[in-house]
Symmetry: C2
Subunit: 271 residues, 2 copies
């Protein structure tokens, strides 16, 4: 069991279960950050429960035509299991796809602007764009085939990472900076929040991708700080200090980057 509900969140929540691979942040981290930022308890099944990964595999990676509890199959982890939220109101709901999980949780965890339909869709718009960047960064070390070793696609990875660093990062960063600037007055400060006047999952999702890029491409990111200081300095540091996140990021629950989406191969960084 991870974060405990904070005093301000009195709403009763089901015992959410994050179903993901053990030992890596990966795409599960976007879901973890949402729970941790909201101060809502969840079970990180593969990391916290005995034989938890076999449960994850059973639900998300089985060969059958059902995930579990009468829910349709899952393409791949992460998935979210929500006891009592299934179709009949009793069984569990199982949903997959990172942005789908975030949209589902957004309102329930208080991570979208309240009573604000446009705001909800703007949060999702920004989060989806950050997840697109996440995929592009993954492809810098696996541009040809996800099932092959990096070493077997290294020549292509050098080319791909150069393009992502030189062309794609600035394009995405410029978009996030414009979004911050658009929201500067509403959020009450420079580089504070991406949508509205409090933390949303757009902030946590963009932050995670930036943090991952800092691990993967430390030289590139250091060089970009001047050009994108609202995003890479103000915003990045602001979000890190948010109550639920600050505690989490220094805890043992925050897993180190290793061989997942964000990998540090010095040759793929700026030379």
């Amino acid at each position: 069991m991870a974060a405990q509900p904070s005093a301000k969140k009195q709403r009763t929540h089901p015992q959410y279960e994050l179903l993901y691979h053990p030992g890596i942040p990966g795409r599960g981290e976007f879901v973890r950050l949402a729970f941790e930022a909201a101060g809502v308890a969840y079970t990180d099944t593969a990391n916290e429960v005995k034989d938890g990964y076999s449960t994850v595999q059973q639900i998300c990676m089985n060969k059958g035509t059902e995930s579990a509890d009468g829910n349709p199959p899952v393409f791949s982890p992460p998935a979210l299991r929500v006891p009592g939220a299934g179709k009949d109101g009793k069984s569990a709901l199982v949903i997959a796809q990172t942005p789908n999980i975030l949209f589902y949780l957004g309102e329930k965890l208080g991570l979208v602007p309240e009573d604000d339909e446009p705001g909800r869709y703007h949060v999702q718009q920004v989060a989806l764009t950050a997840l697109d960047l996440n995929n592009e960064v993954h492809d810098t070390h696996h541009p040809i085939a996800v099932m092959k070793y990096y070493e077997d696609q290294k020549d292509e990875a050098l080319k791909k990472s150069q393009d992502v660093r030189e062309n794609r990062l600035p394009k995405f960063f410029s978009y996030f900076e414009k979004t911050l600037k658009f929201n500067e007055k509403a959020s009450g400060g420079q580089g504070k929040y991406l949508v509205g006047d409090k933390l949303t999952y757009a902030d946590t999702t963009v932050w995670q991708v930036l943090d991952g890029c800092m691990f993967a491409f430390p030289k590139e990111m250091e060089t970009r700080k001047e050009e994108f200081s609202d995003l890479l300095v103000s915003f990045y540091d602001n979000i890190k200090q948010e109550s639920g996140l600050k505690q989490y990021l220094t805890s043992k629950r925050r897993l180190p980057y290793s061989m997942g989406v964000f990998r540090h191969y010095p040759e793929l960084d700026r030379q």
Copy 2:
């Protein structure tokens, strides 16, 4: 103005505007199919309005910190403009990101199971997975850099497309088939609908990706038909016959594939 509201859809809709590049199906096609399947009128701005593409560029590709009507900036088309749905209830709402637009429209167009929260998220789960495949197919001809010519990354494209055809297509197709099989009883037939008992945007989105793959990789897809007949024969043909779609697909509004996401380079197909 495209499809006219059908008799069964008496609900009043705003005059939706699809903001996308002219002349190609691209990612705009997922949004078009949703409107056409629902029989709800929309304006395809770049294709139907005089100087429409400059409106698209102004809203979705400008250098400022706002898209239009007090909405945050857009990373790239497609976007949806909905008059009267903005934050103040008077101005227009502008939202971007294909799955975000589809989720927004799903309930409004009757393209998700009614009064069924789990069903709505299952539709989005399947649609997001189809859009992931769409991106992977795009990368078969642009594995290194989206801004470079295909000819400048042809060696890498040959490797990437081989992996996508041999490993990724069957993985995705198998997932879609399992989803169809899971839903066989509820949908009332083999290979009928992916979620629930009537057409959803999961169906139109998966269908479009399959159709695009048939254009891009005709030999590969022909060979796969036996292995995945529920998906590539029953489902594919069923959806094509849906009332709103059947008419649309033979109309002039259905744009031909050319140099967008789905491209036919014979050398990238099965040899």
